[in-house]
Homo-oligomer: 352 residues x 2
DNA sequence: CGAATTCTTGTAATCGATTACATCTACCGT
DNA sequence: ACGGTAGATGTAATCGATTACAAGAATTCG
């Protein structure tokens, strides 16, 4: 053992096992195990003897042995797409907190939309290395990813739904409805010519948000103008917003407001416009989606549609905790759709 | 097994073990184990038989059983302070990539500077749940954290050094020197009255950066003016920068340039100044530290001292990988100090 | 051709816990 | 006083792999 600054104790180099504790306490290993797991089923005196033996030896139960026998590792796998995107930071924070509190460790994996990575983590799951899986991603997971995941391992999805499956819990928001609300807000502020910067078309959320934009435009009878939909985003990132700025400048009849499918896109777009002397919101209003950490700190502070990321993380973790505790799917999966909330800041102005 | 969209195969509900494979291939379990671990030590024909048996049964070795016997879990624990701070995102990315490539899983833990959390993770380590530990944090770990971590588990530190210990590898930057360089750059641009916003005094890096600031000021013979050091940061965050802005406005003789101990602080400070009509860099120049993702996207883009976070992550992971592979400290620990790099953008202007 | 060496494979112990079952003691009511 | 029941503890099987050791088969070499 290594004890910073204090003299080396004369402990044996061998790791201490339950046997050592049992011997020292003068009981059997079964009793030690019980004293730890079900203290009330052991006589008070014995319990004390066991605990002091544990303290004296510095015993910590071996995780592998316990997992092997108990068929539970007390760990969950959290799969993230793995972009440098800080969107996931608060999610991961919430997950780690709830899981740790619940006695579970968090194994993270970045899928980086690579097939080999998915197979790798499929193997981790099949090896029984985790008791549950949480897929946090905007991408609809491909079939391969779940082939031969044992039924005994509960799986949950965050931020994207696999259509038509009852075997996963799903936690997401109504991307389409929330996007429509964002655009309706712009309309309520007097804007008539509103553009949209969608995310990468491959993602389900991006398509939903585009759908919401169209819904809101159509519902008030505005023409749906394809030249106002600036496709070409590769991701929810700054660069995509900057690229969209090119479309903006190429346009003769410019919009007075823009709805970006993500805050990062909005910020990149705003930056590019400001660089060329376009005022925000004086010349163009901008609204984003997500309410990431930097939205509030930008200049101007970004008006955006907030996703309750922390709360979603908490709920998803609690649900998985519950399902892992119940043997054999005793608890049904849940589909939870949380409401988004419009956060009004400085990047949208009213026009008449 | 669960196979999305395809009919349920008639597999037994019981999980398939090495026994099943052995029986099917007509060999002993020892041979199966060898075929997997040391393919060259079994006859080609047998090897083929084993592999097809594996394929047919869909066998995946049980991680717990393997760990128990082999005394290695192929997992590392990465400890982060756990603030929502996105500073660590690229670090975590690099770590996950290198470790996964090296065949190790990444267990994350957020210490949240809480003692109970540290004890919790100490227990995880002692339970043999991980083969190595990487502490990624600005805080000097307290003794408690390492008490009774077995010598067999290599530990590395990133971004902060525990003074006087040879038992950990350390990966950091010369915070003091780099800070002095940042301030020297301001001086080279003609600034004479330069303020500093330090990070929380409890952190070693924050103190080092403050030291660097003082070095550079003294070295050119400027007076070291305490009213230009705006203490009171609680963290490397926006709020601390905003708080420092109060000190700025309270001052009669204002500085022409400010060195902030972190980008987040710089951004919060800039935001607060701009809100009150102070131009950056026209009225005040600002330089940050870290070069986080948002520095380049802010308006004005932040001039800052870059820490090679990704590279540090890679190096630290590779070092730990090497030390875990060597039995019993065959490889000495290393102290690696990487160079920072000044990234000139728009937030500093030359004065005469 | 026989002994030595090398390959290949199997047998069985082992890792360190958990837990079903058995046993023993103590206490209870009638 | 005695059968019954509850409570406390021990015995030993078990989880699913790895691996030391042994043994048999094949090859090499003088």
């Amino acid at each position: 053992m290594r004890t910073l600054g204090t003299p080396e104790p004369e402990t044996a180099p061998r790791t201490v096992t339950i046997q050592d504790v049992a011997r020292r306490a003068g009981v059997s290993t079964a009793t030690v195990s019980r004293a730890i797991a079900l203290p009330e089923r052991v006589a008070a005196a014995t319990r004390e003897a066991v605990f002091s033996a544990i303290r004296e030896t510095g015993y910590t139960p071996n995780a592998a042995a316990r997992s092997l026998r108990a068929k539970s590792t007390k760990m969950v796998l959290v799969l993230l797409p793995g972009i440098g995107n800080s969107f996931f930071t608060p999610v991961l924070n919430a997950l780690e907190e709830v899981f740790t509190e619940g006695g579970y460790g968090v194994l993270i994996g970045y899928t980086r939309q690579s097939r080999s990575r998915e197979t790798h983590y499929a193997r981790v799951i099949r090896a029984g290395q985790v008791d549950g899986v949480l897929v946090v991603t905007g991408n609809v997971p491909r079939d391969e990813e779940f082939v031969s995941v044992p039924d005994t391992v509960p799986v949950s999805l965050m931020f994207s739904e696999v259509p038509g499956t009852a075997q996963f819990s799903v936690f997401d928001v109504d991307n389409r409805g929330a996007s429509a609300d964002a655009v309706r807000y712009l309309i309520s502020q007097g804007h008539r010519r509103i553009a949209h910067i969608p995310g990468a078309e491959s993602g389900l959320e991006a398509r939903e948000r585009l759908g919401g934009y169209c819904d809101a435009i159509r519902e008030v009878g505005f023409p749906l103008d394809e030249s106002l939909i600036w496709r070409g985003a590769s991701n929810f990132d700054f660069a995509s917003g900057e690229r969209a700025a090119k479309d903006f400048f190429a346009l003769d009849d410019k919009p007075t407001a823009v709805f970006a499918a993500a805050d990062e896109i909005a910020l990149g777009f705003m930056r590019a416009l400001k660089n060329r002397g376009v005022g925000i919101p004086s010349d163009v209003s901008v609204i984003g989606f997500d309410d990431t950490e930097y939205a509030v700190h930008y200049d101007p502070a970004l008006t955006t549609m907030r996703q309750p990321r922390n709360e979603m993380g908490r709920l998803a973790a609690q649900d998985l905790l519950r399902r892992m505790a119940a043997r054999d799917g005793g608890i049904p999966t849940s589909k939870v759709r949380l409401p988004c909330e419009l956060v009004v800041r400085e990047s949208v102005r009213a026009v008449e």
